[in-house]
């Protein structure tokens, strides 16, 4: 199933709830980049970009873009008070030193151990690893947002990833168009189900064992 616009926004809205005041956050491209639209006004979050910005603000109005002020995907941004510019080696120093509180990344597959594959499909698409490997391996909390199943209807949450890994045992939370799943030491824990899906749908669309949280919530 393809993730349509409304669904992308629902996923982003749910992911936004994971961000707290005072955090340092790096957002991947795609769905993660929609998250700032769903944050409460006045929340102090320093958004980091691996090309060399700490303290990104909202997207500029049309016509106000600055070609020298862009995020890691090459799209124009603004900055907030207290922001800084630096070179990309410094940007990755912050990442590898473990100073980023949360990163939200896209995913192709996540395993029940929290292994993440999100950078290549051998023989098909080899975009390159970019900065995802370091973000996944070194960030305090890694949230993966993605469609629950692939375009061919195959589960993307699996016992073992079949695609080349970005990093092992790095994912803490998975947010999809059908569910919110925590990666725990005891395995995957289904904590929320998104309407119109029910628990049976989610279990059927997941390629790994799911424990159902006693406090399971339904998101309308």
């Amino acid at each position: 199933m393809e993730v349509g616009m409304g669904i992308r926004e629902r996923i982003a809205k749910r992911a936004a709830k994971e961000l707290k005041d005072g955090m340092i956050v790096n957002l991947g491209i795609g769905i993660p980049s929609l998250i700032p639209n769903f944050l409460p006004k006045g929340m102090r979050i320093m958004f980091q970009a691996e090309n060399g910005i700490l303290g990104m603000g909202e997207s500029p109005d049309k016509g106000k873009e600055d070609a020298n002020l862009c995020n890691a995907a090459g799209y124009p941004v603004t900055i907030v008070d207290g922001a800084s510019y630096f070179d990309s080696a410094t940007a990755f120093a912050m990442i590898r030193k473990g100073l980023i509180d949360v990163t939200v990344l896209g995913g192709l597959q996540v395993s029940e151990q929290g292994d993440l594959a999100n950078w290549m499909v051998p023989g098909k698409r080899v975009p390159g690893v970019g900065g995802g490997m370091e973000l996944a391996q070194k960030t305090k909390k890694v949230i993966v947002v993605m469609s629950h199943v692939s375009k061919d209807g195959e589960p993307k949450i699996v016992t073992e990833c079949s695609l080349p890994l970005t990093a092992r045992q790095c994912v803490h939370l998975i947010i999809t168009d059908q569910a919110v799943i925590e990666v725990t030491k005891e395995g995957l824990l289904l904590t929320e189900v998104m309407a119109p899906y029910n628990v049976e749908d989610v279990v059927a669309n997941t390629g790994a064992f799911l424990q159902i949280a006693p406090s399971l919530k339904r998101i309308e």
């Binding site: 970009a49 090459g74 510019y85 990309s88 590898r96 970019g130 900065g131 370091e134 080349p164």
Partner: protein, 233 residues
Amino acid sequence: MMVAGNEYGKIVSIEYAIDKVMDGCTLMVGGFGGVGSPPTLLQEVFDKGVEQLTLICNDTAFPHIGVGPLVKEGRVKKAIVSHIGSNPIAGSLFQEGKMEVEFSPQGILIERIRAGGAGLGGILVDIGMDHEWLSKGKPIVEVDGKRFLLERPLTADVSLVYAKKADPFGNLVYGKSARNTNPLVAMAGNITIAEVEEIVPLGELNPEEIVTPGIFVHYIVKSRGVNWKWAWE
């Protein structure tokens, strides 16, 4: 207003500077998704028809932006990059075996460039250790019980960078996020050519604010400005 002199002979014509970029050379280019890549120098390298390049850059940009056109026209024999996803033509050339690509994780690529520019023999990293491609042929080094991959430094025959301001010694100040890989790329070139928006007289840049000391910069050329349409336009 004072006019910048040329006390160090580093301010040259674009044609003179580009003469250093030869067929088959290793060319390192600053920029990240094309932002902060030197538009005028890249256009001149393209127009000169240079071929068989080994290109070292953060990424292959977009087909019409930054290093993208060089890749698109098959001028690059080998690319050492972190990402080719924004340039579908790079992906096709790679898949068809027409362009070799050596991937490094982004932060490792830039540290390899920094190591090259800083005269180091390599760096020890714990990224990509158990990845078949990324660890292939790289020695494992154990330090205090921890295992690391040895990643080799990168240098280039010629480095092309883009800055906001230069003085005649080649001291550079960058513009916002267009700084990105440029300060590291500037250090790693055997010859470094800086394309700048503005050349100011000696003494006008505040020494506290200089990001790249001029010792790393061999030639300075004045930019004609960006000649591509941005991906977001």
